[in-house]
Amino acid sequence: MPYDKPLPRLNADNQPFWEGCRKHELRFQQCGNCGHVRWPPSSLCPRCHSTEIRWLISKGTGRIFTFAVYHTAYHPGFAAELPYTVAVVVLDEGPRLLTNIVDCPPGEVKCDMPVEVVWVDIDDAITLPKFKPL
């Protein structure tokens, strides 16, 4: 069955992130001036406005800041997966990523639960970073 969910829209800022995902690496921008690790990608550091960027590879571990369990398919591509869990994961390096929690029934997901990245290959270009309990 063809993949029928929305795919990320690549642009100059986020392309290195999604290329990293394809290689199963979580890459985040780190400010070359103040060291702040940020998400989403942007040309300026939101803390100090520096344009100096280096890319850091995250260890892929963090904790769940908050989550929501969808019982409604706003998009038909998700209908077969209800109920599913959307979460904000805070990576150990600092950035917060909106993602899904997998390999865990929605009723067992908790705030502050430690999680690690799981790679879901979609096609030749896109791999999605999802998370499961550690």
Partner: protein, 267 residues
């Protein structure tokens, strides 16, 4: 419609995250974790506002009573938010006419006078936010408005709170200082916000039970109550509540990203 939703949600749609209910569900869940709120608190808001709608023939849910059991049995939309935690979707309009006090004195209808206003816009996208469990912009906006009006919270007789979701009402009242974090459930006991209650909230039924006219739902109701034009639901002897001298109204935007409030008083 689907295109609009995906455009609104950006790459969040990749993970099945769409629209406002999902965003507020993230905030509400964090609040459950941080200060122990939850459906037991929100149900008091949904049920209380529906009682006001029963007194408002113009309310979309006028003839649809809601009991606590109905709330408990309602379906999840995005957990922890159930259907009655969500505001209505409404086609319609509402307007406020603002003029000088000098002109207003001669009008046929008694005016509602603006005592103070405040606005505070933290604006951070909810996913990046540290304060989804408060303080939201409501705290700083309230300080500005009350300083301008020269009053304290004790002077407020009723509230019209922007209620896109039940949780929005709780976090707004909490950030205004009506109760401490997590004490909303106790504060709401015994019909505090309902007809006959000591602090009526959203007396038209609000966006949850009357109609969703964005910030116009609360402010129009605040003005109408001060003007004494609310019929069966009029604050005062008819609803066994205090006759309103001062009403606090709020507005909120994004996923708790912007906040405004206004204090209205009788002339």
């Amino acid at each position: 419609m689907l295109r609009m939703l995906i455009d609104f949600s950006g790459d969040d749609a990749v993970f099945g995250h769409f629209g406002a209910t999902g965003g507020y569900a993230l905030a509400a869940r964090r609040a459950m974790h941080e200060f122990g709120t939850g459906p037991e608190t929100w149900k008091k808001i949904a049920v209380g506002q529906r009682k006001w709608a029963a007194l408002n023939p113009a309310a979309m849910l006028h003839n649809k009573p809601l009991t606590e059991a109905d709330y408990d049995n309602a379906r999840w939309i995005v957990e922890p938010l159930r259907l009655p935690d969500n505001c209505l979707i409404t086609d319609g309009g509402r307007a406020i006419i603002v003029t000088s006090l000098e002109r207003a004195r001669d009008l046929k209808q008694p005016p509602a006078v603006i005592m103070g206003m405040g606005m505070h816009n933290p604006s951070t996208a909810i996913v990046q936010s540290d304060w989804m469990a408060g303080p939201t912009g409501a705290r700083a906006a309230k300080e500005t408005a009350f300083a301008m009006a020269g009053i304290t919270l004790d002077a407020v007789d009723a509230c019209q709170i922007y209620d896109c979701f039940t949780y929005t009402v709780e976090i707004t009242l909490q950030d205004y200082g009506f109760f401490k974090p997590g004490e909303g459930r106790d504060w709401l006991q015994d019909g505090t916000i309902e007809p006959g209650g000591r602090m009526p909230v959203n007396t038209s039924g609000g966006q949850l039970s009357e109609a969703y006219y964005m910030g116009l739902t609360p402010i129009a109701e605040g003005a109408m109550q001060i003007m004494g034009r609310c019929g069966q639901r009029q604050l005062g002897p008819a609803t066994k509540t205090k006759s309103p001298e001062i009403i606090l109204c709020s507005d909120n935007g994004g996923i708790l990203q912007s906040h405004a409030c206004i204090l209205l008083r009788r002339l």
